[in-house]
């Protein structure tokens, strides 16, 4: 079985993951809509998952892919709870703009 990294190279995947992660960070900082912030967090999680799979192929070891399954389970749980919190916030305040959430400010 031919290793795919012979033709692509692990460093290309590292650069792709770094750029994807930075786009996620940019989205968290740039947008005010809490749903888009959640989507940016999903993008960051996916960047890390991609790097896990790349290094799993690099070492020819399946433990990295198994870890990605756990990461997906945690992401699914996080999204369910987070969106429930957002729905509850929207019901109480009337918007999901994160600059309106200043109730904890002293």
């Amino acid at each position: 079985m031919n290793n795919i990294l012979n033709q692509i190279g692990i460093e290309n995947y590292i650069f792709l993951s770094v750029l994807l992660f930075c786009i996620g960070v940019f989205g968290v900082l740039y947008r005010r809509n809490a749903i888009i912030v959640f989507m940016s967090i999903e993008i960051m999680l996916n960047a890390v998952n991609l790097l896990f799979v790349a290094f799993s192929t690099y070492w020819q070891d399946s433990k990295g892919e198994v870890f990605v399954f756990f990461s997906m389970a945690v992401a699914a749980a996080e999204v369910a709870v987070g969106l429930a919190i957002l729905v509850s916030i929207f019901r109480n305040i009337g918007s999901v703009d994160i600059s309106n959430l200043k109730n904890l400010k002293g």
């Binding site: 992660f21 749903i35 989507m39 998952n49 070891d61 892919e65 957002l86 703009d97």
Partner: protein, 173 residues
């Protein structure tokens, strides 16, 4: 330039551009659609690695479950009008500065650190079929049996929590 490399660059361009458009587009529904495209291109990357089961699970979980949840929430909140106010200019400039600095710093770090050169090891044995993954996941000696059970408990707790959080409170309380 081999076909695989062209395919990689094509998929990477789709991934990065749709991820950027997810953040950039004003309409949340468009953002969700771009995010689905981004997830599909990442599944394409997994297929390039020959990790078929992972690609399928990725499509089912992310493009299926999570994005449907996002779309339902967006429609529930009626956010598809583009009434979002821009952040103040200083915050946007700060976000762009952080993006440029962070990405250039990380890329330069990985570019000037010791590069991964030479042959990549190919053991030839199967390590990413469903059979092997199931063995590694559920092996009782050095497998991931206990984390697997903890993940199921975590999903149960998340389900109960989501139901409790989004339940309408009774007005009498």
């Amino acid at each position: 330039m081999s076909t695989i490399l062209i395919l990689f660059y094509f998929l990477s361009a789709i991934t990065l551009s749709t991820a950027f458009l997810t953040i950039y587009s004003r309409n949340p529904i468009h953002s969700a659609i771009y995010l689905v495209l981004c997830f599909f291109s990442i599944a394409g990357h997994y297929l390039l690695f020959n990790a078929q089961f992972l690609a399928l699970v990725h499509i089912i979980v992310y493009a299926g479950a999570i994005m449907v949840l996002f779309l339902f929430t967006i429609m529930l909140m009626n956010l598809n009008n583009e009434d979002e106010v821009h952040k103040p200019r200083i915050t946007r400039l700060g976000a762009i500065t952080v993006f440029v600095l962070l990405s250039s710093a990380l890329v330069l770090i990985f570019m000037y650190s010791k590069p991964f050169v030479g042959e990549y090891p190919t053991t030839g044995e199967d390590f990413q079929s469903i059979k092997k993954l199931g063995t590694v996941l559920l092996d009782d000696k050095d497998g991931f049996m206990v984390p697997f059970e903890f993940a199921s408990v975590l999903l149960l707790v998340a389900m109960i929590g989501a139901v409790l959080l989004s339940k309408k409170e009774k007005p009498g309380k």
